[in-house]
């Protein structure tokens, strides 16, 4: 059996196993080990399992994952999301579809402090969906904007996807964090434009906008102070150079705990709940990280990534066509896979291609996360949509998916903008980290 056949069989076996309901991390581990045994030898495969899992778990840089997860769970329990939602709602009240716009903005902001798409969607969904329904918003518009808001936050630090990308691609996480900011802002604006276009074409989607007195607006500022403090500690500390990313993550977790305590929400029961959820989410993430490390080592030894990369790079087409092909592959993969394993498997293959096309690895990180955002809301396997279906139990999943479609187009537009103006991603990191 040739190495290429073995690699393809491995990928197929992995997809079949997970579709049959096998745990994703363990199936990566299994297929990687058997594949390595076939490619090299059984004892070599045992060797892979002997030292690689502990080496992955004991990677200093990966410490930021549990830290930001813990921070996110504290902010969730501290109820910081309500204040943020009120703030956005009051200040964006003049926009058509104002509740949808403020949901997206608030979700994006909440993601900044909690770093988790699931927590953001769950939190904002709980707050915003009943609110929008109360005012007669269409279900599609309501759920779609929550899903998009949760996905959009992935571009904004601290984002687990950017961190994992930084580790897989060996790029500075600080630079990646800086790179995501401008595209995130543009995408937020594009999303709001999308909402405005939608409600202009179909005015029955939601009630017309209303006025909010300025005094009402200013009253909401006090509610977002705790969020600004977290913002300052984590992002300010990191970008000013006062702390490293690792230090900022631990300090962020502590600050979030203190805010929760000040808000009087830090009961023993809450604390146990927070830690339990954090341990669960970290476990889920690390099992995939470890499985993917074993699986990727198998793929590497077969030489598959290089072959595929040289095949795509050898296509005699413009670099924009190649990016288009990659985006289509991501759209397809995103439909059937979860974001984290998808990213860990594809980055080692696609990054060399992108670099061969003169795209910087920092740019590629932003691009990949945009593709992941698409995957998070795209049917049928879209994490954000699943969670929403759990919250709004009477809304059929099909309605949620239809609500997400306009935003998939928005993200595609953003990818096109970023491809033609790569500086949008690289400008800020160069400004912050270079003189």
């Amino acid at each position: 059996m040739s190495m290429m056949t073995l690699a393809v069989l491995g990928i197929v076996a992995f997809l079949v196993l997970i579709l049959l309901g096998m745990n994703i991390g363990i199936s990566l581990l299994l297929v990687g080990t058997i594949g390595y045994a076939l490619a090299v030898s059984p004892s070599a495969a045992l060797g892979l399992l002997r030292s690689l899992p502990a080496s992955q778990a004991g990677t200093y840089a990966l410490m930021v994952i549990p830290m930001f997860i813990i921070m996110g769970n504290f902010t969730f329990h501290a109820g910081l999301s309500n204040g943020l939602y009120n703030f956005c709602n009051k200040w964006l009240s003049r926009l058509p579809g104002n509740l949808a716009c403020s949901t997206v903005a608030a979700s994006t902001g909440f993601h900044v402090i909690c770093g988790s798409i699931a927590a953001t969607t769950a939190t904002m969904g709980t707050i915003a969906i009943p609110e929008m329904r109360k005012y007669g918003y269409d279900d599609r518009l309501a759920t779609g904007s929550v899903a998009m808001g949760g996905a959009l936050g992935n571009l904004i630090p601290p984002s687990t996807l950017l961190i994992v990308y930084g580790i897989v691609a060996e790029q500075s996480i600080g630079r990646l964090f800086a790179a995501g900011i401008i595209p995130a802002i543009i995408l937020l604006v594009l999303t709001i434009i999308t909402i405005i276009i939608m409600v202009t074409i179909k005015p029955n989607l939601c009630p017309p906008p209303h006025k909010t007195p300025w005094i009402e607006r200013f009253k909401t500022i006090i509610e977002i102070i705790p969020i600004l403090i977290l913002f300052l500690v984590v992002l300010g500390g990191m970008f000013s150079g006062l702390f490293t990313v690792n230090e900022a993550s631990a300090l962020g977790a502590l600050t979030a705990a203190i805010i929760t305590a000040i808000k009087g929400r830090l009961t023993w029961k809450n604390f146990v709940d927070i830690m339990q959820k954090s341990v669960q989410t970290s476990a889920m993430t690390f099992l995939i990280i470890i499985g993917a490390a074993v699986f990727c080592t198998f793929l590497n030894i077969t030489g598959f990534p290089e072959k595929l990369a040289s095949m795509i790079a050898g296509l005699d087409v413009s670099k924009y066509v190649i990016i288009l092909i990659m985006t289509i592959i991501y759209l397809i993969l995103g439909a059937v896979m979860d974001e984290l394993p998808m990213m860990m498997m594809t980055v080692p293959i696609f990054l060399p291609i992108a670099m061969g096309l003169d795209f910087s690895p920092i740019w590629f990180g932003v691009y990949v996360v945009l593709c992941m955002e698409m995957g998070a809301i795209a049917p049928p396997v879209g994490l954000a949509c699943f969670i929403l279906a759990g919250i709004a139990k009477d809304v059929p999943l099909g309605t949620i998916y239809r609500g997400a479609v306009p935003y998939i187009i928005t993200i595609l537009v953003m990818i096109a903008i970023l491809t033609f103006w790569p500086d949008l991603a690289t400008f800020l990191p160069d400004l912050i980290f270079n003189e």
């Binding site: 309901g21 199936s27 299994l30 200093y60 813990i70 977790a253 339990q276 341990v279 279906a389």
Partner: protein, 184 residues
């Protein structure tokens, strides 16, 4: 069986608590390190090595516990369309393969623990021996395998046993992971 399950699930909670303590230790360590460094210019020596060792313990200790809460990702998109019997069979077979895989990984870590002890593998600055950490990994992975095995028994049992069927449906059968169990 119910008793056995309850016993091991309780144990898993204890192991999960070890994981939580590990993560809290990392927060304390890092904050102390930053504080000592910025205030007195005396950072904790080898703090990054300590963080790495805490991570190894916390990560492996979390797996079995997360399994009892069904927090690991399984995709139900295809098999939820299967008839009940086929669905349980598919879930049960992949689950038993998972038991084997994790047990083998546990065995691998155990052999590495022996090697690391024999060779006296240590960390660079604090010279912490590595073998205890491979041992922890091995024990935690064996425990993970046990929890998976119990779950497997329940999945197969659910074919005949109605009560178990409800439990398994509650655990896996739903299309949507509960928001409280999914955080990313």
């Amino acid at each position: 069986m119910e008793k056995i399950k309850r016993f091991f699930y309780r144990c898993a909670e204890g192991v999960g608590a070890v994981s939580a303590i590990g993560y809290i230790a990392i927060i304390v360590l890092c904050v102390a390190d930053v504080a000592l460094d910025k205030l007195f210019g005396t950072p904790i020596e080898g703090s990054y090595e300590l963080v790495e060792r805490c991570m190894v313990v916390a990560v492996f200790a979390s797996f079995a516990y997360a399994q009892t809460k069904k927090a690991h990702i399984n995709m139900m998109i295809l098999i939820e369309r299967f008839p009940r019997f086929t669905r349980l069979l598919s879930l049960g077979l992949t689950s038993i393969i998972s038991v084997g895989t994790t047990a083998y990984a546990a065995h691998a870590a155990w052999t590495q623990s022996m090697t690391a002890m024999k060779m006296n593998q240590i960390t660079g600055i604090l010279h912490i021996p590595l073998w205890p950490f491979y041992t922890v990994e091995s024990i935690a992975m064996y425990f993970f395998a046990i929890i998976l095995l119990i779950d497997t028994i329940y999945i197969f049992g659910a074919i005949k046993n109605n009560e178990w069927n409800e439990q398994v449906t509650e655990d896996y059968g739903m299309l949507i992971p509960k928001p409280k169990d999914t955080n990313n």
